[in-house]
Amino acid sequence: MIAIPSIPGFLKEPNGPIGKPVSRVDGRKKVTGNAHYAAEFTLPDLAHGYIVSSAIARGRITRIDTAAALALPGVIHVFTHENRPSLAWFDRKWKDDDAPKGAPFRPLYDAEIHHALQPVALVIAESFELARYAARLVHIEYEAAPHQTDLRANRADSFTPGKDKGGFQPPPKPRGDPEQAFLDSPVQVDAEFTQAAEYHNPMEMHATTVLHHDDGTLTVHDKTQGAQNCHTYICNVFGLAKSAVRVMSPFVGGAFGSGLRPQHQLFMAMLAATQLKRSVRVELSRPQMFSFGHRPETIQRVALGADRDGTLRALIHEAVQESSRNENYVEIVVNWSGQQYKCDNVRLDYTLTRLDVHTPLDQRAPGAATGVTALEIAMDELAGKLGMDPLELRLRNYTETDPNTGNPFSSKELRACFQQGAERFGWAKRSPAPRSMRDGRELIGWGMAAGVWDAMQGQAAAKAVLGVDGKLVVSSATADIGTGTYTVMTQIAADVLGLPIGEVTFCLGDSSLPTAPIEGGSWTVSTVGSAVKAVCDRVRSQLVTLAGKRDDSPLKGVAEEDVLFADGHLIVRDDPSRRLSITDVMRGSGTLSIEEEARALPYLLARARHTFATHSAVFVEVRVDEDLGTIRVARVVSAIAAGRIINPKTARSQIQGAVVWGIGMGLEEGAFTDHRLGRVMNHDYAEYHVPVNADVPDIDVLFVEEHDDMVNALGAKGVGEIGIVGVPAAIANAIHHATGVRVRDFPITLDKVLAGLR
């Protein structure tokens, strides 16, 4: 069943769809309102749930009075910890594919309050409005306990986590003598950086609709990046047979990591549906979108020591992040610093501080977005002290091998990113001194940064069914959260079998499909795309075999590698007049359909001996109003090395969108906690600012050529994360160049700049 996909050189069909800017195959559905998201499925018996959130950050519930809510006609039930049914006991039953070490949060489990906005009751009513109204009538009394939500105040009380989460690597051991080398360095930078907590805030609020069928089976429409992850979770928690539940997520209204773990609306909807034996929908409110995972608040220190020619002699990067009391959320923050630049004396430290918050959660380029920002600002500061061009400093310390492991990169075209990005931006025309470029009252600044992200691959399976009509259906239980999965998988399948795009359908977002891991970390093209290629390779082989069977076949005796697949035909490579349509091949052999399933694995041997990464160079122009301190990003060039680009149109959108995320992280986004209450105060779209249209300039994306035949059978590395990495640093560096003001506290709001301008 395991198929090792053929090497990328096999993708050599002329004019195949791989690499073409194909418009999204699900585009028509999305622009006509026919793409249906989790809260948009229904049955006549649908009841509506509304969650009541805790008013305190820590303590316990002493009394819940639901009488007033239940007295309203149309209110069906109020679920609380006092009346919940018996559920799974062991922590492992509550774990999911993205769970870190620890005990997962259990909604409505007991009277204890662990974090602000913790769900404490679920009101079920005949209408949405009634459920919402009744939720306000649930009276809850608490006994508050002292809480700690302030990372800065508690940072001393931190610990070093282990390998506490899938995909996490603790920092490598120190090399050389970083402390002494730093002291001995003639040029030094030593600075502290703070990053506010960020909330994913996808446009679609988390929602689950459980459809309760007459035979007792359940169809669960959930907002998730992993239908199978949620399927396993609810079967475990509620003790259900796997065959009795199907989780669907064909369309996901953004997630950016928020759907990597089953969120509590899923639990709540399942609880009500299984107890009440009817269909139930639970949708979070926008403020409740601040009641679960987030990009953790982080404090970092970066110390760089260099010779006068810019050669790095010492690199120290320390980070402390918040996690919850119950789980060790970890992400790779500091390791990148040891990987990006050549340096013999390196110490990388990463610690966690437990706070009374919900467990943080992966958010677009988790760890790298935060850690690389600090590193790349420190590099800019170092360049300033050296009187050296910031780009030149990065080239001076460029490395062709990964210093953390000593292994070579499978491919690394970062140099080309620097060169092509700088050229496109016009970097050579930069006037080096801060505050030396202006346009009227606007101070102009040009900043740059480098970025890096992993090119990961997991295991996935895919199924292909080719009909005698030449129509192909390929499926795998992955997700498309706007990333373009539907489209790129369609392209890969169409390419391998030489079919027009319109003849191929790709199915995803369904727990009953062949196994695929949670969709995230830029690994879906690599992971699922390889499985799609593998299964289509098998169909291809079958077709060649069938085509050669008949004595009168023009393909008789032709080897597979000599057959070209194009326009729905099998064509002899050296003699295009010898051809057969797929339909003729199947009819001729009496085959109605070809069905194959295959699983693709990473090239483990190559992976053990190489580092696999995407790289970027980002160049930013900001304009800062000299009097008001307002900051505007005027221009961005992002040069990306990510291997083969399957679809330049959707890939460009991924990078653009990630740059917008970088603008948000750099200038706007931060969840601010009132530590007296332990609550995020700006918990809606009006107060938690995300970039709007007017905040975003044209974003110039360029993909540099990067050939990689070790990364996977497609040569593609994935582009979801790399676009954000480095952007906040490039913005901060541009602001410094414009104003001479160095801000190391994110987001960089105008008050922080203005304080320095005055």
Binding site: R24, K30, F128, M205, G253, R286
Partner: protein, 178 residues
Amino acid sequence: MAQLKASLRPTPAPPPEPIPVTLNVNGVERTLHLAPWTTLLDALRLHLDLTGTKKGCDHGQCGACTVLVDGRRINSCLTLAAMQDGRKVTTIEGLTTGDALHPLQEAFIEHDAFQCGYCTPGQICSAAGLIAEGKATTDDEIRELMSGNLCRCGAYPNIVAAIRQAMATVATKAEGAS
């Protein structure tokens, strides 16, 4: 603070009784019996099963629920259905003519002006309202006047490009018609 004494808690009012509301939705007259606290957004999504109009915040902060009422773009979550009694409501489902897409819908696909697609119906309805208003002529004006519609995927540059193209198409069509 979180604990109000029982005696101080207001006596809950009973849920309101439904009232008749007539809306002309995408050219079809629809009479509904709705509790008066029902927003236009929930009337569309929950009572008419027109789920193309999206709920992104329910607070008038994101624009995902934008529809056209008598040709003007509004946040359908910020108005009660009963307040729009007798009005003409156009949703994303009403922009297509048979199988033919609206020029904005075509342009959004061509320019990849969306990713997850959740804000898209609101963006398109808002852009239709914007074009009808005739105020935006430059890219910066499009950016400014589309800033009530958040796109968390960050498709803004492509949204601007799509609107620019559709604006030209609509103008050409209008010229041809006159």
